[in-house]
Structures are given as C-alpha cells and as structure tokens.
Symmetry: C2
Subunit: 348 residues, 2 copies
DNA sequence: TTGAAAGCGCTAACAC
DNA sequence: GTGTTAGCGCTTTCAA
C-alpha cells in the first residue's frame, strides 16, 4: 500500500522516515527550523509537502499546554449583540488579530444565568489559552468566574462593577470616551454655541457615564436641566430631545452619547421645524456609518476605532500569555485606552 | 496547602490514587460509569469532586480522535453577515444545539480569496469534527475545499453551484422556499387577486430562484411583465415596484421575495397614493420581525424557522459523524427541507 | 468487574 | 547539529 489507510493522516514519524531523519529534526523544522542545517531543512520540507503532513493539534497541545484557541464570550441577554454593528466590527478585529497569532476563535454564547456554570467549566477545563469578554452590565458574573478559574481574560470596555478599579481590576481595552466627549463639547463651544444639551446613555454602562463626565468636564457649571436620559436607542433619543426642548427651548446645541440617539433627536428637531445645524447643532458619538452618514444632514460625531479595539484586546491577551509566570505580570493589568477622533459632517 | 502546586490541575492518576482504584476505572466512571460497580463509582465520583478534576481535552482528543468542536464558516465578503438578523438567528440555533451536544463552536471568518488556504489547512488539520457553512454564492470555493480535505460539512441553504445536485452534492438544510412562495401566491388568489406581480431576489441565490419558481408554479401562464428583479435590499424593492407600476398599472397584488423588498415596494405604493391592501395586496417573505412588524400596515409574509434551521444543521452533522464508516452513509447526503408558514397581517 | 499496559502524536531535555 | 528518549493525560484492549 503506497498510501497507508487513506484518511489516516501522516505523522511526524512518517515524515521523518521519508526524509531520512529523526522525529526531533522534523519537529524542529516544522516549528521554525532553528538550529537545523539548511539542506536537511529542505529535505524535511519536501517530505512534509509530499506527504501533506499537518501537525496533530491535540498531541501538540498535550505537551506544550498551549491550545492555540481563545474564547470570545458573548452574553446574549445583555444586548442585541450580533446584529449590533459595533459588536460586529469588534469581533472582526478580534478574528483578524487572532488569525495573525495563529489562534482560533471559540465562540461562547451565554444565554442565561444557568449558562455560567457551563462556561466556567469550559474555561476552567483549559480548553483555551485565554478569553475575551465584554463589559456590559455591572452585575455580571463573568469577572468573578474568570478570576476563579484563573483564565487570562481581557475585557472590551471599561468594567464598572464594584471593585473594578481595585481588587477586582481586570485588563481592558476601551475608547477614550471621556476625552472624546470633551472634544465634542469643546468643538460646539468653539462654534459659538452656548446652551449645549446632552443626551446621556444608560447609567449602568461605563461608556455612557464616561461621556457624561466628559461633557461635564467642559460644561463646568452646566444647567442640570440640559441633560436628559436615554438608553442608546433611536427612540429614546427622540424622547429625550422632546423633553429637552420642552425644558430648555433656548438650547442651541445637543451632544448625544451615541449616533442612534442623535438620529432620534434629529428627527424630533426637524419635526419641530428647527434647522440643523443653523438653529441647533448636533453631535453624536461612535461614527456608526449606517447611521451617521445616512441622516440628513449627516452627523458630526466622535469616531472610535472599534476594529482596532478588538485587535488590541487580542494583543493585550497575547502579551499576558507570554508573560505567564513572570512575577511582575500579575500586578499590572495594563489596560489600554484608545484615542477618539472628531469627524466633522454637516450637523454641527 | 492541600492543593499540590496550585494551577496544575489534577489528572486521572491523581483521582485514581485518591479513590484507591486504577486509572482505567476512573476513566470508565468519568465516561458514564458503564460496567463499574456502584460503590466504586461513588468513591470515584467523590474523588473527582474533591479534587475538582476536569478531563484534559487534548489528551482525550489524542486518543479518541474526537475534537468536540465544530467549525462555523462565515464568508465575509458575501454578506453583511453578522449584522444580518437572519444570520444571527441561525448562529444562535447552531450555538444552542452544539451546546446540547457538548461541542464547541469555532468561528472561521473568511475574508478573502487568500483566506481559503488557511481555512483549508485548518479544516484539513483535524482540529474540528465537522463544519457548518452557508451557501451564498455559486462560485464559492468552499464546497471543493471541504470535499478535498474530507471534513464532514453541512450547508445552510440549498447550494447552487454547478453539479450541486449531482457529484458535488452536499447535505444541506433549507426552508421550503418554493412551497412557501406557492402558498403566498395561492393565498393572494384566494383573496380574489388576479394580476399578481413578483419582485424577485438575486439570480445567483437559490433561495430567490426557488421563490420565483414557486410563484410560477401557481401563476402558470403569468405575464412575464409582472416579474421584476431586485437584490433583496429595500431600495431595490422600491425600484422594482416603480418599474412594475409603470409596466403594469393594473396589478392588484405583489409578492416580494423578502420582507425588505416588500417594505421598499410598500413605500412606493403609498407614494403613488395606492392603498395597501385595498388597491394592492402585498406579501413578503422571511418574517423578519424588525421589518415585517414595523411597516404600516404590517406585512403578511412567509415565515421560516431560522433558528430551527440552525439547530437542524447541527443535528444533521452529528448524525453524519456518528455514521462515520458505515457504508451507506456516504451515498445519501440526506438534506432537510423545513416547512414555512404564512403569517397573516394587514398588508394582504 | 477491575487492573496493567500499550499507545495516540508530539515536544523538549539530554546525549552524542 | 542531530538523534534518543521520556513523557504530556487519556482511552482501550487484554488479562486476571
């Protein structure tokens, strides 16, 4: 039989035999070829090619204790998650960077409280080298789970749970929400606006709270009546806008905590016959193309590099993995804050 | 510390020692406990519990050749994919069913032609037990890849590539697009409509061609002028509607190949002062809640159980895996067509 | 029913 | 530089 039991894939042994070298040499070549003489390297490479050899992942993992896989944890109840374009971009960044690191993306879809036990078991089972999670709600069980099972984890978004800045600190990647908000408000001031309102996002998400803080940083003595509460939906933006207009009809600008709410606000402004930006200037946040470019007028907004944040999450995780064991590693979570950029369009 | 070298997880050996039995016995208990006497089973169970033993996946895979993982292949260029609610539902179904089968979901995100080589290598590397893919474009390389690397694969959607019904046949799960279309058109006929137009979807997707066929099945001698071409977008639906109205102003009903196009058509009908359903009855396809329930009037449409299709894809794959080796298995791809259901709302 | 022992395919000391 | 060898942790005959 030339092809020993087709379907059974060739092993290192087979390659070694074919190249006339030892298994160890083949292993070295397959793993980069350091310290092997060139002619041998080539002979081995040829044998690998001819046999169509592919390393057995399980065998390799068994000895190296590296899985070449990272879990991405998605907590379903929290979000529309998948159909959220924000999320899609972030996962794309993660996927790309993982590929660059020769790692696979294992998707863990958490559906309810009962699911956490399964997740914990999986994470604790050492199937993956690390995990990537998203900081959504503050009462999430995830932080305590990853801590308990000791799997290196990087969060997307600054965590807001109690103790997140202290003993329960975790490494995370987040956009500079506060700085971006400041820039947006300063821009409005620079354009001569004086009564700048803010439509805030949900109180239990750090991103919206940070944006609110940024607004307040600049509007030091802001009239509290200029701040209305939304929940990141288009509808809530419209509602908040109506409320603001009622409370403070003299406002001349609005900074919304995201584009969707800005779009809702825009709708209401137009319904009331107010011109944007002439009567009221409007700035959003996120630069979600499907929203910010589609409105009329298109939105001036604060852009964050969402895909880049996804990539950074992976890089941060990989760095953690490589430090493994080094003493000072554990101390510094070493989070990353990525810069934002004001994108000027017609709405302000 | 009772915990020997914290971080090093206990092995079978450790459990065996603690329970005072052999590794083999522990293995048996861990894998179901068949053929082990009850008292021993309990002793082992207790040891497992006390030590917090979790089987090493790599070691197990190495000997069983089972990965407990399935790849889900997403071809990015084809689609907006992730932000597509259709897709989200399907992946949710897949994720749930995979969990039920104790399998993990490995996400393979294909970004361009060059990526296929990577995918092929991964699939061929035996990292996963099988794969789930989606049949989008007819010139996709995927079918030939999965065939070449011999990884069991189930497709979502009936494949349309050349030879798909013959030598390149693959198992797939699809909705009964043709039957659903028939039902929609028959329903319109039953409501007394006579000049029923159709807005068709892209010509290179079997789902839209099947729906067109269903339309034709019922409208045997349909006036070709009653069929307009769209591409599944809202905009294309509006465009097609305008075209139809110009060509056949007397039409009294429209069956659109998806809800998005129906929504575009609806917009145009109203712009022209035509009442729906009084002047023109309208039926969509998909029952995408965010669209069909949001229009005014809400759409009568053909529902498909998208999540169920995702689950079925997994079941079909698992069946294939369990048959592995049995002779007759290879012959019958054994695809599944799931029924559709007409959902009556106000538009027809 | 239980245990002993032989690998699964690979890496990494350690020799040579 | 290259080869030899000892496992990684588990399942699975085969004997007892």
């Amino acid at each position: 039989m030339p092809d020993p039991t087709p379907g059974a894939r060739p092993t290192l042994e087979a390659v070694a035999a074919r190249a006339g070298v030892s298994r160890a040499t083949v292993s070295r070549v397959v793993n980069g070829g350091e310290g092997v003489r060139q002619p041998l390297v080539e002979r081995v490479r040829r044998a690998v090619e001819e046999l169509g050899y592919v390393p057995n992942h399980a065998a390799r993992t068994l000895v190296t204790r590296r899985n070449g896989a990272v879990a991405v944890i998605i907590a379903e109840p929290e979000f529309r998650i998948f159909s959220d374009p924000f999320f899609e971009q972030q996962v794309r960044g993660i996927s790309r960077e993982l590929t660059a690191h020769d790692s696979q993306l294992v998707l863990l879809w958490v559906e309810g409280a009962g699911d956490y036990e399964r997740i914990a078991r999986y994470l604790g089972g050492g199937h993956v080298d690390g995990a990537l999670a998203f900081s959504v709600h503050n009462d999430d069980e995830l932080p305590s789970i990853v801590r308990r099972v000791q799997v290196p984890t990087v969060f997307g978004g600054r965590p807001g749970w109690p103790g997140a800045s202290g003993e329960l600190a975790v490494p995370y990647v987040d956009a500079d929400n506060r700085g971006g908000a400041r820039e947006a408000v300063r821009y409005l001031l620079a354009r001569g606006r004086e009564r700048i309102a803010h439509i805030a996002g949900p109180r239990d998400q750090t991103s919206s709270m940070d944006r609110l803080d940024g607004y307040r940083d600049v509007m030091l003595d802001a009239d509290p009546g200029l701040v209305a509460q939304g929940d990141f939906t288009e509808e809530s933006g419209a509602h908040a806008m109506a409320e603001l207009l009622e409370r403070r009809p003299g406002l001349d600008a609005v900074f919304a905590a995201n584009d969707l709410m800005a779009s809702g606000a825009l709708r209401v402004l137009r319904e009331r016959g107010l011109r944007v930006p002439e009567d009221v200037a409007l700035v959003g946040f996120d630069d979600m193309a499907s929203v910010a470019e589609a409105t009329d007028p298109p939105l001036t907004t604060v852009r964050q590099d969402i895909e880049g944040m996804g990539r950074l999450m992976v890089r941060l995780l990989m760095r953690t993995l490589n430090q493994h064991g080094e003493p000072e590693a554990a101390a510094t979570p070493g989070s990353v804050i990525t810069p934002t950029e004001l994108v000027r369009r017609a709405s302000a």
